[in-house]
């Protein structure tokens, strides 16, 4: 399976390690979080497998193209528009979370609009690139930032201050009823495969997706969830974990690099994580712009022979993001992201029905020209 496919999945998982997902999980730490995590791994891997197998049948085609062939215009135009909104909101959540993080820990005196604008300006140009260029950017930046992030995780695991007793204590809360919110938060981590709706355009060769690949995804997801949930508990104690607003930030602040020029691991972590967040926002907003391009046929809008239609969604994105950044509080951000994840748990498995429909229609179309 092409390595770019794994990048899509990994970015979605890793980018949410320090965002709202662990905060939601740890909020329910003594109320069914563990069992929800296990359930979500099962459900998530199932979803990833089904999505990938579906898209492997149609190499190089995106979901809007498939919909155009098999369903009527009244269905797919509003549907694709809804998808665009969903992807935009996903990127927006990451953007606002990161803006809050930056303003809290890195530069408290900067006006929040300026920080948000910085993030937006660096990503916005990427939304109008071609698909393969976006994937190469993802690869390049992942190669630069991931070794350092892995190093920080390694340092966390081998630190003396990590008390494994707390981890074991947390793990023993396994015999509780699963919790809906924690399930949906973990489930969101697996929705990186949904990026295939647009990025399937890039995978034009036949790929293999068998047992080994599925196992690999299971391993990655277990590792990510384990790190995301248990490491903050090991450093910060089990009972008090609920008080921390950003559990992972407090955790990296508890690691000390004795012999390096940066002592507080927090800053290194924040700046390199900025790269992963950048990629996550880029992927989500790129997909949103592509969906919008499809819905409104933006390539056809021309002014003096220059295609300006593709630039139209960009100022709208900027304006909406700036508005929400100034209006939301942290609590509202967590609440709304929690609701958003809850909604997604219904929508994405529901798409599997849509896929079976498309499969049937495509098979009919293949067999009918033969007649």
């Amino acid at each position: 399976m092409s390595r770019f496919y794994y990048y899509l999945i990994i970015i979605n998982m890793v980018a949410n390690i320090i965002a709202s997902v662990p905060a939601i999980l740890l909020h329910y730490h003594n109320d069914g979080a563990i069992i929800s995590m296990l359930l979500s791994i099962a459900a998530g891997v199932l979803l990833v497998t089904l999505y990938t197998k579906f898209f492997l049948k149609y190499p190089g085609k995106t979901l809007p193209e498939l919909l155009e062939k098999t369903t009527s215009k009244w269905f797919y135009l509003p549907f694709v528009f809804v998808l665009a909104v969903l992807w935009f909101v996903a990127g927006l959540i990451t953007l606002i979370t990161f803006t809050f993080l930056l303003i809290r820990y890195l530069s408290p005196e900067m006006p929040i609009i300026l920080i948000c604008l910085t993030l937006i300006l660096s990503v916005i140009f990427g939304c109008i690139l071609k698909t393969d260029r976006v994937m190469y950017t993802v690869e390049m930046i992942m190669i630069i930032t991931s070794p350092l992030i892995l190093f920080i995780f390694l340092k966390a695991y081998t630190s003396n201050s990590l008390n494994w007793d707390f981890v074991r204590e947390a793990a023993l809360y396994i015999n509780q009823v699963p919790n809906w919110h924690s399930f949906s938060a973990c489930f969101f981590l697996f929705l990186g495969a949904a990026n295939l709706f647009i990025f399937n355009r890039f995978f034009t060769d036949k790929q293999k997706f068998g047992f080994r690949q599925i196992m690999f995804i299971v391993l990655i997801s277990i590792g990510t969830l384990f790190t995301s949930y248990f490491i903050p508990i090991g450093f910060n104690g089990f009972e008090g974990i609920n008080d921390l607003v950003y559990p992972w930030i407090s955790t990296t602040d508890s690691i000390r690099m004795d012999y390096f020029i940066i002592e507080r691991v927090l800053f290194m972590f924040l700046l390199f994580y900025l790269g992963i967040a950048f990629l996550s926002i880029l992927i989500h907003w790129y997909a949103a712009v592509e969906f919008l391009k499809f819905t409104f046929k933006l390539e056809k809008i021309k002014y003096k022979d220059k295609v300006i239609g593709i630039f139209l969604p960009l100022p709208i994105f900027v304006a909406i993001s700036l508005y929400f950044v100034t209006v939301l509080t942290e609590y509202q951000l967590f609440q709304y992201s929690s609701y958003f994840y809850d909604v997604l748990v219904f929508i994405f498995p529901g798409m599997i029905l849509l896929f079976t429909y498309i499969n049937r229609r495509m098979k009919n179309e293949e067999s009918s020209p033969e007649n």
Binding site: L102, L106, S107, M110, L114, I115, T118, L119, L121, S122, F125, G126, L129, K130, D132, R133, Y136, T137, E139, M140, I141, I143, I144, F260, I261, I262, E263, R264, F267, L271, L274, G275, F278, L282
Partner: protein, 447 residues
């Protein structure tokens, strides 16, 4: 055409230059006329192979056959071609109402140079010369493949230089070749004296920041790139060749890598990339740390920086800009210094940029160290074009760090990577990890 008309026509073409020499060779029953431009001709060779045999051979037909057998003989296809060829150092022979061309050009500039811009420790120090024929000679001697194909054309409407497009017909990247030939035909500038000007025009982008073609003077680099399927452009009168299409990583490879064992070249490559990052990011990092987030670094380091900034009247980014401008001016001036003044300049530069500035508290000690580190690491990059580009981009990073702090600097780096990935060099993506690692491609395209 009759002979008088022809002679009149030739004189008509060249009436504005007063150097066209007309020589008449007359013998008992044969007559021939020579037209040439004297400064271009090798006069001795002319006497030896044209004039002497003329008087030694009895019949004109035999002489004409002899002429056609000469290696310097060229086919004359049209009257316009005559004009260009005379300007190229050919001799026009007019015998029995027919024109014959002989290439008797005397070149002064056919000595090969030694590599001065791209030097290595090992390997040949040979560089291309100014003469296109010598260059093709060198290239062909290094690349013994029958598939090596050389296409000639001319460029520049006013000065009509010869242009050669060289590629290996089997291995070449056909897409890029088509784009290049297409773009070359669209170039209609009047005066093109150098390959670099050519590169600016075929790019079609007046404002491109990153070089789209590598300019090199070393034949071994040319040969490696030929084996990798690249297209080489040579212009007469220029010791630099252009290589297209190009990848970002090509700029960071030096021919030195091929003369060392694996671990040493790996270490050298690592050094170069570290140098690249240092020269791009260090001034911006200094601004970000001192002015936006001083708590990022260790306490001891922060105290040292704070201590060394005592008494400096400027804020950090003015200090950085001031020192960097000085360094850039010094670098620029040192290119043009006559050899007699160069020693003075070194002293002046060293004194100004060194101790005096810190003693007068115009800049901090740390700033001097940063500027020297940046200067040295900029020139670790093997290809000079990229070093110039880095020098310009560094200022963008300083701008980003000044306005937006450390987060702005990091995001500017990511945005730059995204920009690099999005530009094309003749149809090939500029920044990309190449997966195909056959032995042939490894030679030409560094990964």
């Amino acid at each position: 055409m009759s002979s008088e008309e022809n002679i009149k026509w030739i004189n008509e073409q060249f009436k504005d230059t007063n150097e066209l020499t007309m020589k008449t060779l007359e013998d008992e029953d044969k007559k021939a006329e020579l037209f040439y431009i004297k400064p271009l001709i090798d006069v001795e060779l002319l006497q030896q192979i044209v004039i002497k045999p003329y008087f030694e051979m009895q019949s004109e037909t035999k002489y004409i056959r002899y002429l056609k057998a000469l290696p310097q003989f060229q086919d004359s296809k049209s009257p316009e071609q005559l004009k260009t060829e005379v300007l190229n150092g050919n001799v026009v022979l007019f015998i029995q109402n027919k024109f014959y061309l002989l290439d008797l050009k005397f070149s002064f500039n056919d000595q090969t140079n030694t590599a001065s811009v791209e030097t290595t420790i090992h390997g040949s120090q040979l560089a291309l010369s100014d003469n296109i024929a010598t260059n093709i000679n060198i290239i062909r001697s290094d690349y013994h493949q029958p598939t090596l194909y050389v296409e000639y054309s001319t460029i520049g409407q006013v000065n009509n230089h010869k242009l050669a497009i060289i590629y290996d017909k089997e291995k070449v990247n056909k897409n890029a070749l088509n784009i290049i030939t297409e773009k070359l035909q669209q170039v209609d500038k009047q005066v093109i004296t150098s390959t670099v000007q050519l590169s600016n025009y075929i790019n079609n982008k007046k404002y491109s920041l990153f070089p789209q073609l590598i300019m090199t003077e070393r034949p071994d680099r040319i040969v490696y790139n030929l084996a990798g399927g690249k297209v080489i452009l040579l212009v007469d009168g220029n010791p630099q060749a252009l290589i297209a299409p190009v990848y970002f990583f090509d700029f960071m490879t030096s021919m030195e890598d091929n003369y060392h064992s694996f671990y040493i070249s790996f270490f050298l490559k690592f050094l170069r990339y570290t140098g690249l990052f240092i020269s791009l990011l260090l001034p911006g990092l200094y601004i970000g740390i001192t002015s936006f987030a001083p708590e990022v670094f260790r306490t001891e380091l922060a105290l040292t920086i704070a201590g060394s900034r005592i008494g400096v009247p400027f804020s950090s980014f003015v200090e950085v800009l001031f020192m960097l401008f000085f360094m850039e001016m010094l670098l620029e001036a040192s290119i043009r210094l006559p050899k007699t003044i160069s020693a003075t300049a070194t002293t002046v530069g060293g004194l100004i940029l060194g101790t005096a500035v810190t003693e007068a508290s115009l800049a901090s000690d740390i700033m001097v160290i940063i500027v020297s580190a940046v200067a040295i690491s900029t020139f670790v990059i093997p290809i000079n074009e990229m070093a110039f580009t880095i020098r310009v981009i560094r200022f963008f990073f300083i701008l980003a760090a000044t306005l937006l702090g450390l987060a702005g600097l990091t995001l500017a780096l990511y945005a730059l990577i995204m920009y690099l990935v999005s530009i094309d060099s003749f149809g090939e993506p500029y920044l990309k990890f190449n997966e195909k690692k056959t032995s042939k491609t490894k030679a030409g395209e560094e990964i």
